[in-house]
């Protein structure tokens, strides 16, 4: 993509004193994205919004969501980094298939992911049945929430990490190896720091995706306030009953996602976008 569009843009000198049509052309999309969010924000008066946010069930759902999505992101990083490195650095049979497999959770409806998790980790599943015999149960627990979120969010991290690792010059890694660094040291001292921007983008995307996860969670982990009822679940059920609560939670969800994404971009950042230019 970069080579496709980027190189041409750099060749042309910046144009001045000409009205920029790109702003006008971007406006419909910006309005389309921003208006519904503003609608949410201004649906209730600030007092109502505050009263709804102060409700204990809302606070429980917010806390649970922040906790589980953080665990899920941690799991995505720990489990996803080795695979991303492998995909970026090694040529092997079936690489394309593996690469495709990783992308699958992005395009699957989350309900399908939840069902698949339930069939394998449920009480009668390949993994769930032996565990059940040991007296361990995953479904309807907080672990199930984290697993559902990880399943859905990990591809976003792996995808970003592959791009990051692939952009590290192999010569740098080779040079370090010649200087006597072992495989782990090369990874730790060279590849990881150089790929950190992509990795952090991946972390942000995975975390935000985990925070918003709904379909897989409600099928695999069920819905129990304080145990498995995350913000998106509470929003959905709130919509059935009390619109005010649903709107309040939606505002928090949008706000949390926006602030975290922004912070990551600002703190680690600026560079994320600068980095993506040639």
């Amino acid at each position: 993509m970069r080579a496709l569009f980027g190189s041409k843009a750099t060749r042309r000198p910046p144009v001045r004193h000409r009205p920029e049509p790109w702003w006008a052309l971007s406006l419909p999309l910006l309005a389309f994205l921003a208006l519904p969010l503003l609608g949410l924000l201004f649906y209730s008066s600030p007092e109502e919004l505050w009263a709804n946010l102060a409700r204990p069930e809302v606070r429980t759902a917010v806390g649970l969501s922040l906790r589980t999505s953080t665990w899920a992101t941690l799991a995505a990083v720990l489990l996803g980094t080795p695979l991303a490195y492998l995909l970026a650095r090694r040529e092997f049979r079936g690489r394309l298939l593996l690469d495709n497999l990783i992308d699958l959770p992005i395009v699957l409806p989350p309900a399908v992911a939840g069902l698949a998790l339930l069939l394998v980790f449920g009480r009668r599943g390949w993994v769930g049945a032996p565990l059940d015999a040991l007296g361990l149960r995953i479904t309807f627990t907080q672990l199930a929430v984290v697993m559902a979120q990880t399943f859905i969010a990990v591809p976003l991290f792996v995808r970003a990490a592959v791009i990051g690792f692939a952009a590290v010059e192999p010569e740098l890694e080779d040079a370090a190896a010649i200087d006597g660094a072992n495989g782990w040291q090369v990874f730790r001292r060279i590849s990881l720091p150089l790929a950190r921007r992509s990795l952090l983008t991946g972390v942000a995307l995975a975390w935000a995706r985990a925070l918003g996860e709904f379909g897989a969670t409600i099928i695999f982990a069920g819905n129990f306030p304080g145990r498995t009822q995350t913000m998106p679940l509470a929003i959905y059920l709130g919509f059935e009953m009390e619109l005010g609560v649903a709107v309040g939670l939606s505002v928090i969800l949008v706000g949390c996602s926006f602030v975290v994404l922004l912070l990551i971009k600002l703190v680690f950042g600026r560079a994320i976008w600068r980095n993506s230019r040639p």
């Binding site: 496709l4 009668r124 982990a221 129990f224 059920l237």
Partner: protein, 289 residues
């Protein structure tokens, strides 16, 4: 180099365009009504009068029975196409309040019918009870927790799944627990003991049933109408005295573009033929207006 890139860009754009065309081509043509989920085909009629589309908003639990009724109704009324919008009654009532195009509303409870009446689009007193539904306890066929009586639901460490309080069946389930706790045959702490066993409050009655059928839960509470054609579960009856009978009301909308057809549909549902179909799907006869 530039032309090469341009060529590649065009190839990319045109292949995406082709793909989009293909995908769009897969959509059924001519769907002009809002949120249709099921379209029963117009049956080959000899002298069809003008074609008319009837939008029926019906509770999710009615889907199977109403699909059959819709087909039969279309056959009896050449030219009429029934388009169903199946969802939770509360969502349907919200959609009606928000002005969604609807001709008939069939709700799973009186409360949501009242919401629709309050919107002004259904006349007060226009709603008629047409069918009833009862609660039943289900367990997986192999019954891992060994539940043979309703009292067994209170046994500690039983994995129980109920519908959320926000959906009608979830509220009825709680009412059943209240009735049981007040009954001499049950412990006074029955409700609390049962609720302590709940591992999930599902968002609709179908997912309660599925969690039980998959063996994830030891028991759940659903409608009898949900059990028709479902394998892998065993039903445990709830006696009449403790059961909560859901009354389903149906009414035409007063701003319907096809008032006669809407009235005819309601009549058809209330007719012997309509009631027979509903009976086949596990619904009980209505106990009157």
């Amino acid at each position: 180099m530039i032309t090469d890139e341009r060529k590649r860009t065009w190839r990319l754009i045109s292949s995406i365009g082709l793909l989009l065309l293909l995908l769009l081509g897969c959509q059924p043509a001519g769907g002009e009504t809002a949120a249709p989920t099921e379209v029963s085909a117009v049956t080959g009629a000899t002298a069809a009068p003008e074609a008319a589309t009837l939008n029926v908003f019906a509770a999710a639990s009615l889907s199977d029975a109403f699909n059959e009724i819709g087909a039969a109704f279309s056959a009896a009324n050449p030219g009429a196409t029934v388009v169903f919008n199946f969802a939770g009654s509360n969502q349907l009532a919200t959609q009606i309040t928000e002005g969604a195009p609807a001709d008939v509303f069939a709700s799973a409870n009186a409360a949501q019918m009242e919401v629709a009446v309050a919107s002004g689009r259904i006349d007060a007193g226009a709603a008629q009870q047409f069918v009833t539904n009862r609660l039943v306890v289900v367990t997986p066929a192999d019954n891992p927790a060994g539940i043979t009586t309703l009292q067994d639901l209170a046994t500690p460490d039983t994995l129980l799944v109920l519908a959320a309080e926000e959906v009608p069946v979830g509220r009825y389930s709680l009412e059943f627990l209240d009735l049981a706790a007040a009954d001499a045959a049950f412990d006074s702490g029955f409700k609390e003991a049962v609720l302590a066993n709940v591992v999930s409050y599902e968002e609709n009655v179908r997912s309660v049933l599925n969690k039980v059928a998959l063996g994830e839960a030891d028991a759940g509470i659903v409608y009898t109408s949900d059990l028709v054609g479902v394998e892998g579960v065993t039903a445990l009856e709830i006696p009449d005295a403790l059961n909560v009978v859901a009354q389903y009301p149906i009414a035409p909308l007063n701003d319907s573009a096809q008032p006669e057809l809407a009235a005819a549909f309601v009549e058809w549902v209330l007719s012997d033929a309509g009631q027979a179909i509903l009976g086949n799907y596990g619904f009980g006869p209505s106990s009157g207006q």
